[in-house]
Symmetry: C2
Subunit: 243 residues, 2 copies
């Protein structure tokens, strides 16, 4: 029997991958993924059949997984971070249903980029939090803005994905404007680029000052809640213990 | 030089642990943790010095980590799931600062319980989401209620931690009452108990019906957004692709 495993490979470094994910990659016949992610797992998939493709080919990748799986092959389709957080898990189920085939699909969770970024910053999450993508490629901008508004009103720690790209330089500016209506300007903000990858870079700044730093598509931004503070270059959100 | 690593051991099954976490446990001299979590990693820490303690001894565990680390020992303090999400990461930094010692602290991220629960349910998250703990042990109940209200208004997928205990049987009832003001009663709800552990159990139900199921402290509940649906026993939130 063939199968498809939608594998969250973690944020980048192979050490941040789970053992279950590694075993799936070792066990399978075919690995399908976005070219950047294929490169990240290269050392683990030598000798396998590899189907890599570019940005916005997500539907194609899912379609490509179906035929070999139905023919009895073991297929891994990979996502960076967690496959279930802005990843390939849902789309794989949707494409299989649309095509109308019965195939064994399993999702293997992984460490998400926000989780990795948080660990590098110290402990900025710790408490209730909201994760919002600023990409309006698949989501209307007004819904994104509304979510930033509600997450700010509720004093959630906020993690922002896909904060800025060449086509969307302004969404992060809009987001900052909304957040600063409800959160103090001095609220700590962590900006982590390429978390857990070779080019990783880290900045701790404030909500006031966050737009003065380098931000792109591989950046995750974490904005603290009312109680978040910075001490010795670590961003910390208290859980509420009295020491 | 001694160190402290705050290790997210993942949701339960050792296969859902990252390689970095496993290496830290193998490398260290002392493992400190809540007794249930120590049991989960037992096969990996044979022969190590182990300090296990009960519930609500979190501050003590962090204090216990300091002395040996300052004496040059390698100490792992473990959290289930991700150490930075309702885990030990923040408290470890806070206790070290309070005691006023300079010790090397590193956080090792892991797969969080909500991530594991999501992978078991299918792909219920996929899009913008909020994570909220219903425990009012360290957080005022009115703030928890406010956050549920805002997360519901913003149509976030919502993951609830610590939904119910003997001392707090009513918070989940209050949460459901708030959510149903803004989300349809037919909104899919996934209830996963002991995700990735031996006794794992899974229910997919609706917001209307969720209170008629077994819920306790080791349960994670995931409530869909407006677009979440159930197909072939999988809970799926579309990312927005047009198929």
């Amino acid at each position: 029997m063939g199968w498809i495993k939608v594998v969250g490979i973690g944020p980048g470094n192979l050490k941040d991958m789970t053992i279950r994910a590694r075993e799936a990659l070792q066990e399978c016949d075919i690995v399908i993924g976005y070219i950047t992610y294929i490169k990240l797992v290269k050392p683990l998939i030598e000798g396998k059949e590899i189907l890599s493709s570019g940005m916005r080919k997500e539907i194609l990748r899912c379609q490509d997984a179906l035929k070999p799986a139905l023919e009895g092959k073991k297929v891994c389709i990979i996502s960076s971070g967690d496959a279930g957080i802005y990843g390939m898990a849902g789309l794989m189920y949707e494409v299989a249903a649309k095509v109308g085939v019965n195939v064994d699909i399993e999702v293997i969770p992984g460490v998400s980029a926000f989780s990795s970024a948080a660990s590098i910053l110290g402990a900025p999450i710790m408490h209730d939090f909201a994760v919002i993508s600023l990409s309006d490629h698949l989501t209307p901008l007004n819904l994104i803005e509304e979510r930033i508004e509600y997450a700010s009103k509720g004093d959630f720690v906020i993690a922002l994905y896909n904060p800025k790209s060449k086509e969307r330089p302004d969404n992060i500016i809009k987001a900052q404007k909304i957040m600063i209506k409800y959160k103090k300007g001095e609220t700590p903000v962590g900006i982590v680029k390429d978390a857990s990858r070779e080019k990783q870079s880290v900045v701790i700044t404030t909500l006031n000052d966050m737009l003065n730093h380098d931000i792109d598509m591989t950046t995750v931004i974490i904005i603290g809640n009312e109680k978040t503070y910075v001490e010795k270059d670590r961003m910390i959100t208290p859980r509420g213990y009295i020491l």
